[in-house]
Every structure is written in C-alpha cells, then in structure tokens.
Symmetry: C2
Subunit: 202 residues, 2 copies
C-alpha cells in the first residue's frame, strides 16, 4: 500500500485563512494530524496562528471543543453530501452509485479530517454525538442495499458487510490519494461507484 506521511508540523502555518476562528480550526486539524491529539497543546495551536498566551481562549474554549468540531463537521458534511447525492433519484442502483461517489469525493478532498476522525475517536470525552452520526451514515448505505435486495436487483450475503466494505474502501482513499497522482477526484469517484455496484452484485 502506498501510504503518505501526514502533514509535517512545518506545514501548519501555510495559507491559514484571515478569519481567526477558521485559522485556529485549520491549525488544530493540521497539528492533530501531524502529531496526534494528546501530544498537541493549546500553546502549539496558539503559536501556529500567532496568538500568545490566554487570549487564544477568547476564540475557543479548548482542545476538546476543536476536536469535537472537526469530527462533527466531518460527519455532518458526509450526511449532507449523501442526502444531496440521492435527492430526486428513485432508481436504487443509481442512488447507491451516487452515494458511493460522494463518499469517495469527500475522502479524496478531506484527507486530514478523515485521518484525524479515524484515529482520534478514542480521544473524544463524549464520542456519542459522533458515533450516532456514523451509525446514521452507515445505515443510509445499508438501507439502500437492503432495498436493492428486496427489489431483486442486488445480491448480497450480508447487507451490513457490503455497506462496511463500500465505506471502508472509500475511507481508504484518504490514506493514499494525492492530487498529483494517477487519478483525478472525478475518475476515482466514477471507478469507486462502479466497484460499489460490483460489491452488491449489480
């Protein structure tokens, strides 16, 4: 497997947005990705955005809030992309294809969020809000597969394993994808859409 190193600490301050709150969130994301949540201090985050000492706390109440925002933001974006992808499409095959494409697009474009999301779920004091969204997101795929099976167009031994497989292979993209590689995000999305349909025996 081709595995990229995550962003190195040297990249942390590159191109931060002018908006203070947005800059703090992005710096936190990069630092959590580069060195892990536990090893990152509020002082590291402050240094990355050029805020010294306690004035950082005018903008954000702490590390936990930043981590929770990153992980909730990831799941809310994925849920919204899924809803948009299937909106107005009735054919179950087309719905699954589009949902799989959206899933892969997110993971190709948001590698750091995916990396931190997968690695730091154990660092959240209250993971339930994130886990509930993950369950709902997985259920969206599973119910599509079950509907396709009921309609006689999909054949699977376990709808759950089929949905996990489609989700896991899409999440894997965040580990190896880079913009200068062999595939564009669109090419990747189309090919993974096809693979998702193969997994359900379409």
């Amino acid at each position: 497997m081709k595995v990229e190193r995550p962003h190195r600490p040297g990249d942390v301050t590159a191109g931060l947005p002018a908006d203070r709150a947005a800059a703090i969130r992005l710096a936190a994301l990069r630092l959590f990705a580069a060195q892990g949540y536990r090893a990152t201090t509020m002082a590291d985050i402050g240094a990355a955005v050029g805020i010294r000492g306690p004035s950082l706390y005018k903008h954000v109440s702490g590390k936990q809030v930043l981590l929770a925002e990153i992980m909730l933001g990831t799941m809310d974006t994925l849920l919204a992309m899924h809803a948009e992808a299937v909106d107005g499409v009735t054919d179950v095959t087309e719905r699954l294809r589009r949902a799989a494409e959206a899933h892969v697009r997110y993971h190709a474009r948001h590698r750091l969020e995916a990396f931190v999301g997968n690695r730091e779920i154990g660092s959240l004091d209250q993971p339930d809000r994130v886990l509930r969204r993950r369950s709902a997101y997985e259920r969206g795929f599973r119910e599509l597969i079950e509907r396709g099976v009921a309609e006689g167009v999909f054949t699977v031994r376990s709808a759950r394993l089929a949905s996990y497989s489609i989700l896991d292979m899409g999440m894997g993209v965040s580990n190896w994808f880079h913009d200068s590689g062999e595939f564009s995000v669109d090419q990747l999305a189309y090919q993974y859409g096809d693979l998702a349909l193969r997994i359900v025996g379409r």
Copy 2:
C-alpha cells in the same frame, strides 16, 4: 460505521506474558493504541510492566525501536500469510480469494497492530523499511489481478484501484470487528473473499 474505542489505558497490564521482552512489546502496543506514540513515554511502558527507571533499557533501546518492531512485524506477518495462502495454488481466482481471506483474518485478529500501523507511520524516523514491505504486499495483490485480467477471467478498469479497494476494505475490519459480534473470523474471511472476486468482476 460502528467504531470501537481502542483499548483504554486501564487494560494495559492485563494478561501480559511472563517473558520480559514480549511483555514490553505488548504493553507498548497497547499504550501506542490507547494514547498515541508521541504521548507515550518509556516511563509509561516501564510502569505497565513493573520495571522502574533505567533498567527498562536493558531490555529495549527506546520507543522508536518498539514502534518499528510493531510495524515491521505486522508487514512480515502479512507477507508470510499471503505467501502461505497462495502456496501450491495455481488457479488465479483461487489465489486471489485465499490472499483476500488471509488479509481479512489478520486484520480481524490483530486490531491493535493494524490501528497503530495505520496511525503511526508518520511517527517512524525511518519509515522506508515499512513502506517497502507495504509496496511489496500491495504488488502481490495487483500482480494477481493483472494475471487474472491477462487470462481473461477478471475485468477491471484499474488493477491498482482494485487492489487498493480489496486491501482497504480488509483493513477496515480492524476498526469494527470484535469477537462477540455477528460474524466469526472465518465467516468474515469467506465473505470478504467473495467480495474481492466481485471487485475484479469474477
């Protein structure tokens, strides 16, 4: 997605082997999984195995060596399992099925190793030995797929994406599998073997 929290620090000392070196390796693995490599100190590892102060260094030269051993051990085991799975099997479909089964078996049985391996590649001072093994392992799957395509039994748009998909969906198992769940390791391996063949259009 169902995502389990990794082992909590409270579990670190449970059932450690009598052999000192083995106990140190297992405690390090659990601590790296529970709190991350950077946040784990040699003193934490010593405390977990009941060795205080510098005498830990009689058994191991440092954290980097422990992390490298975990990650090299994972890849060497996967490469050996792959070789064993395909040994004596000439049919390319059967070779791919067995290789995919072995891949999933490892990831169901070695969840902590897989978790640390995926998350801490950026923490290795010299990742090349691990990355070389990962490339060789991926190449093993890709060459099987290319051979199946050449023989006219597989149909894929990209052998590389097909191999990444099979590997990523198998690695995903380490995030959600647990022994008391819906599937045994064998059931999981058989179903993923089938899914791998679907991915290559068999």
